[in-house]
Symmetry: C2
Subunit: 378 residues, 2 copies
Amino acid sequence: MSNTQKEAGTASTKATPQRSANLPLDTILQGECTEVMRGLPDASVDMIFADPPYNLQLKDQLQRPDNSQVDGVDDAWDKFDNFASYDSFTREWLAQAQRILKNTGTLWVIGTYHNIFRVGTAMQDHGFWLLNDIIWRKTNPMPNFRGTRFTNAHETLIWAAKSADQRKYTFNYNALKAMNDDLQMRSDWLIPICSGKERLKKNGKKAHATQKPEALLYRILMAASKPGDVILDPFFGSGTTGAVSKKLGRHFVGIERDEGYIAVARERIAATERLDEEALGYTISKRQAPRVPFGQLVEAGLIKTGATLYDSRRRHTARVRSDGTLVSRDMTGSIHQIGAHVQGAPACNGWTFWHVENRGDLVPLDRLREEIRAISHA
Amino acid sequence: MSNTQKEAGTASTKATPQRSANLPLDTILQGECTEVMRGLPDASVDMIFADPPYNLQLKDQLQRPDNSQVDGVDDAWDKFDNFASYDSFTREWLAQAQRILKNTGTLWVIGTYHNIFRVGTAMQDHGFWLLNDIIWRKTNPMPNFRGTRFTNAHETLIWAAKSADQRKYTFNYNALKAMNDDLQMRSDWLIPICSGKERLKKNGKKAHATQKPEALLYRILMAASKPGDVILDPFFGSGTTGAVSKKLGRHFVGIERDEGYIAVARERIAATERLDEEALGYTISKRQAPRVPFGQLVEAGLIKTGATLYDSRRRHTARVRSDGTLVSRDMTGSIHQIGAHVQGAPACNGWTFWHVENRGDLVPLDRLREEIRAISHA
DNA sequence: TGACTTCGTGAATCCAGAG
DNA sequence: CCTCTGGATTCACGAAGTC
């Protein structure tokens, strides 16, 4: 720690931020969000979760960029002025977020209709590439007491990659699918609001007005980060991001202005335990598994040269050559090429298309590949 | 019809728009959205539903795992050079929409993450007052075929009043509550996509790439318009807004550029029938229902002078005086005032707070009021 | 007829690595 | 930049065909 950012609880000095060479892990930095972010190194964090102010009472929370006070003028101008200052605030922290994020990293922002449209627009303008907007559906929202509107029963999250050409972001597709009864996870998530024992209290009152449920952060971290990753939360608040990061074996970096919230968050995180390795395990996708060429199955003797392969309905056949290529009636090539060829399809995954016969049953090549992987892993 | 806008099928002339004195009801005006809107009078429509282009930025053809092609939106009307040109397009039609809308009217816009943030920002900048964002959750969305993102399973609607000081907009709270098993309607709506018989075909192919389900428009019109109201749809497309407006006894004004879509929509609307009065009847909002003073219940004998009232947990009591005021230990006043007083609350709805005892059970005053209304209505 | 299977399709910013 | 290739990847619903 060598600059204006300071670890929670230590004294602070106001000075020009100097960029530190590396990140202080699993700590809370006290200070203004944008200012502290300026001190963090380029391309250093794997994921950012941001829960910025929702712009509900802007005058109390924000000032113009030049720190001047917003005057009481007529409503329309006043409103425009508020939006403008909120926008500049948003664009400043987004610019820092984009700089700090690794190329493979993604940004999550949560908000409501008061602010989320402005945040989304700013993200697009900065070149973030939107991947999804996610709807957090609340099982137990506060009703609309006056009967003047619909129950505001959701909040919106925006999930974005660093830029349009960054397509290699972290997304644990299969883990999320597993969490959803083996169906692709959708963009609408049903999660209760934070209440009961999870809700942090201080002197009998809620410690933070907008504490997010851990289940929400759990799903986000499971989806878009890996164990050991560094998660930045520039609006740390009561520390939900830190607590869930610790639970899931991720590192966190929190930024928070309010010393009171920091104290609450530190205590909370200290009381949180990392889940054990078994609980941390998650479904990895085939994409992450080591590549196994088909020829290796022939080499290993799992498939014999000259063996006949069939598709699942025995409508097509091909024979295996010693170099791991296939031959059909009029063509030779890879398992994929021949699979595509016999079907007249533009492409084909030979691993799932072709089968070998075993005591009358057809076994897909994919299963033999799994055996190879299990052996070489052991 | 006296200006550049023209009814569907008639000849058109390009000329400077002159504003017409009144609206051509239940017709489709052919032309560019903003240009045609310039010809419509100020403060003349009760509700606007807008389904603008989403500005999707699709690159290559997408194939399903079975190698079939996805028939994506590649229409010219969805092509914009960049965000700036989409924004100026948006701001132009929004400005007209705001001018044309009655003070009591509301605007609905639908979109996805590709465009909705820009639309929402522009609406706020124009002074529209956002009332809710509504999530249309699709029961049967298209999956993400590549396993690269979450299933994009929803679209977002923004519902807004004309300006922050327009609070007397139309909202049929009770009708919506009745549609939702007597629970307050939430901001997330589960509705299937438009398919099957409802989906309009032309030469065996879908007539419009983005036809909206009638159930969606049904709920919107039930919520935010009254029979006889005028509904404007500046992006009329296949005419879902027109068809549902006719069904529900509303008038529509459609604007559409494409003659082919107009032909489809006209035929569709001609084949649509207005629902009968019984089906049309909906719960009258309590705020619109005739006001029933508490004293009227006393007058009617439903509550006896001197009777004791209780809150639902019998923690507080008050006694009824003959003039319809209540008396607690140290104060007299209306049911609302005394309800607030005994709780130490700033305000209280006495109709739901206070109960009378009936054979040991507590019955809220609200239920007795409903009886009065039923009697006086008959 | 009925149960069962197959096929088509929907507002979609939808691949990664080697050479 | 490019091209080429391996190979990973889908849910709900309606219509039509099959047994």
